[in-house]
């Protein structure tokens, strides 16, 4: 690859976008237009509207092309927008955290890619987007941006041949429904859409008839529910495949570069030195199947959709191998929180129990029944949440784990820590427990170890960061303290 000297001159986007952008807006408006032409009364307006729309889309694309230029200027990338009123976005290269290349099928057909620059600056995100460059040019810009961003300057040639750190095997896609969490909103959307259409076409003849059918033949519910579950699983699998097809993770130029997607290919680079740790996510079903998901904990990037994925799903062993290869291994044994069980139970059971009791005067048997069932389901949930709790340290990295439906174990390197906070509610104080949070300038900002004894919390914090905690520890002997000090944790 080149050194990118010409990037110091003013660069324009690819002229092909004059074709891509109108086509894309056409795709969005095509369905309404067809509907108007087919269903609507044929009027003059219904003919003019599409023409006006097309003209508008083309004009917008032309304007976008004319008004956007970019160039390197010293140690910054300057993106200029506007013909008359100009806006200049200036991104210091040492603040570039990652560069994402996206190509929709349309972009791919034209050999284009969208470059999105993720930088630690207080400006709007979309301004760091260049839509679109020729794919090779986009690739080169990414290399230059990340290269100059202080990444290790190794020779770039010939790195492509190295085997990827991780690759999603096609059959792992079948695990997708086990994750559960992404399925529900999509399924709800699709079901609502289907119901709407069915309703419009009077397929049901009103929901009342459906209800009476269920009342007469309650056994019909079983195949219906099974069919629904199969349908949801299928949707989840397809959705997952579209997003994550042929996910690969590579080590390139001091960055972790991932590529994914069936139709639209997305490529994300995460600068290695900004990766502070990793997190392992598991749902109960995934735990049964022995699979897990892996994400990076990256400075400045909240774990949004996909961006920080290191492996979308895979067997647990494989996931841990990828974590060790791509970020770092963790050898610590999690220490459980034995005294947390009571609080997990109370917190899971009391709210639904109160609701159940509150529903009694309403004399709605089914409502009380459902609430009681929810309360009962809270018991295994609470026990599982208790089992999940743990914390560990292996001398260079610390780790905490929590959650049941979404169990999360996060591993953070000590250098990524930016402090501790310890919280104790009134109830926790009475039984000598507290919640210890490690603050991290990455990912979610803080990761909590719930319901440890205060002694264990202090011991753990002092083990991970002895220099910070040492001067805060009470000198020995710690036996009897004046009870006048309300500040000290009680047992």
């Amino acid at each position: 690859m080149t050194d990118g000297a010409d990037l110091f001159l003013e660069q324009r986007l690819s002229p092909k976008l004059l074709l891509v952008r109108p086509l894309r807006s056409l795709r969005q408006t095509a369905i309404p237009i067809v509907l108007v032409l087919v269903v609507g009364h044929l009027s003059l307006w219904s003919l003019i509207a599409p023409v006006v729309g097309l003209g508008w889309a083309f004009g917008e694309a032309l304007l976008h092309w004319l008004r956007t230029t970019y160039r390197l200027d010293g140690d910054r990338l300057r993106v200029k927008r506007g013909l008359i009123g100009q806006r200049m976005l200036s991104i210091p290269l040492d603040r570039v955290r990652g560069v994402e290349l996206t190509a929709s099928p349309l972009h791919r057909a034209m050999g284009l890619a969208v470059v999105r620059i993720d930088a630690a600056i207080a400006e709007r995100k979309e301004d760091g987007t260049l839509d679109a460059l020729p794919a090779a040019e986009a690739e080169r810009l990414r290399a230059v941006l990340l290269h100059r961003a202080g990444a290790a300057s190794e020779p770039v040639e010939g790195q492509e041949e190295r085997p990827p750190l991780a690759r999603l095997r096609p059959r792992w896609i079948l695990y997708a429904p086990l994750a559960g969490e992404s399925v529900i909103p999509i399924a709800a959307l699709i079901l609502r859409f289907a119901f709407n259409i069915a309703d419009q076409l009077h397929l049901f003849g009103g929901s009342r008839r459906l209800l009476s059918l269920v009342e007469r033949e309650p056994l019909l519910l079983v195949p219906a529910v099974v069919a629904l579950l199969v349908f949801l699983a299928a949707i989840a699998t397809i959705w997952f495949a579209v997003l994550n097809w042929d996910f690969t993770l590579r080590d390139r130029d001091g960055s972790l570069v991932s590529e994914r997607g069936l139709l639209t290919r997305r490529g994300t680079s995460l600068e290695r030195r900004r990766i502070r740790g990793w997190e392992l996510l598991e749902s109960p079903l995934e735990r049964l199947a022995g699979v897990a998901r892996l994400r990076a904990v990256v400075t400045g990037i909240r774990s949004r959709q996909g961006q920080t994925q290191l492996l979308p799903i895979g067997p647990r062993v494989e996931v841990l191998r990828v974590a060790a290869d791509a970020v770092f291994p963790f050898e610590g044994e999690l220490i459980p929180h034995p005294r947390a069980r009571g609080r997990r139970l109370v917190r899971a059971l009391v709210p639904p129990l109160l609701l159940t009791v509150a529903s009694l005067p309403l004399q709605l048997e089914w409502l009380t029944g459902v609430l009681a069932l929810v309360t009962l389901l809270g018991i295994p949930l609470a026990l599982d949440r208790h089992r999940a709790l743990g914390h560990a340290d292996d001398g260079r990295r610390m780790s905490v784990r929590e959650g049941s439906l979404r169990r999360r174990q996060v591993v953070i390197e000590h250098a990524g820590m930016i402090g501790w906070s310890m919280h104790q509610t009134l109830f926790q104080r009475r039984i000598g427990l507290c919640t210890l949070s490690a603050s991290v300038g990455a990912g979610r900002g803080g990761y909590a170890a719930q319901d440890l004894t205060t002694e264990e919390a202090v011991r753990f914090a002092a083990e991970v960061t002895p220099a910070w905690l040492g001067p805060l520890l009470e000198p020995e002997p710690a036996a009897l303290r004046p009870s006048a000090s309300p500040a000290a944790p009680r047992d």
């Binding site: 906070s421 104790q424 803080g446 002694e455 002092a462 805060l472 000090s485």
Partner: protein
């Protein structure tokens, strides 16, 4: 090594009790206004159950609200004053706060990005200031309220200077 934290060394200014009391007074007043509004709304709607002793004694509702919320004004500031503490060590800023709960914050000075002081209207009257210590994580940031103005200035300067010398914000 003892596995217990000692409390931070310094208390905040006793005047801070007035600050917390007056702030609480604001929310109590809000609660009473809400109760009065609720009474007026119920009166004008006059639902079927609004009769007998309920209708006669409804004006006790705002009073009840005031009585229930009053501990916020009187007790809360006193407890807070007894709990809140702070200390600046060579490597860490250590704070403790809360009244029915407790929050310990340990912010290493090397990870501090900015230190601000802030004075609200009540604080200015009382000659108090709030020091906010910011890190790259909002969860890792810490706030010390109710410091005497000059102590706050001095503290902010000192922490900022120390932070500049040790800076490594882990981003």
């Amino acid at each position: 090594m003892a596995e217990r934290l000692r409390p931070p060394a310094n208390r905040v200014a006793p005047r801070a009790m007035y600050l917390w009391g007056m702030e609480a007074l604001g929310s109590v007043a809000g609660g009473v206004v809400l109760a009065v509004a609720a009474v007026l709304a119920i009166r004008s709607a006059s639902p079927p159950w609004f009769q007998g002793w309920i209708a006669d004694d409804i004006w006790w509702l705002p009073v009840l609200a005031a009585v229930v919320l009053l501990p916020l004004v009187v007790v809360q500031p006193v407890i807070r004053y007894r709990v809140h503490r702070w200390e600046v060590l060579p490597e860490v800023v250590y704070t403790l706060s809360g009244w029915i709960d407790r929050r310990w914050h340990m912010v290493p000075i090397s990870r501090i990005q900015t230190v601000d002081t802030r004075r609200g209207a009540i604080e200015r009257v009382l000659g108090l200031a709030t020091v906010r210590i910011n890190t790259a994580s909002h969860a890792g940031s810490s706030t010390i309220r109710g410091l005497p103005g000059d102590v706050a200035e001095e503290l902010a300067m000192r922490v900022a200077r120390q932070a500049n010398e040790q800076r490594d914000d882990a981003t």
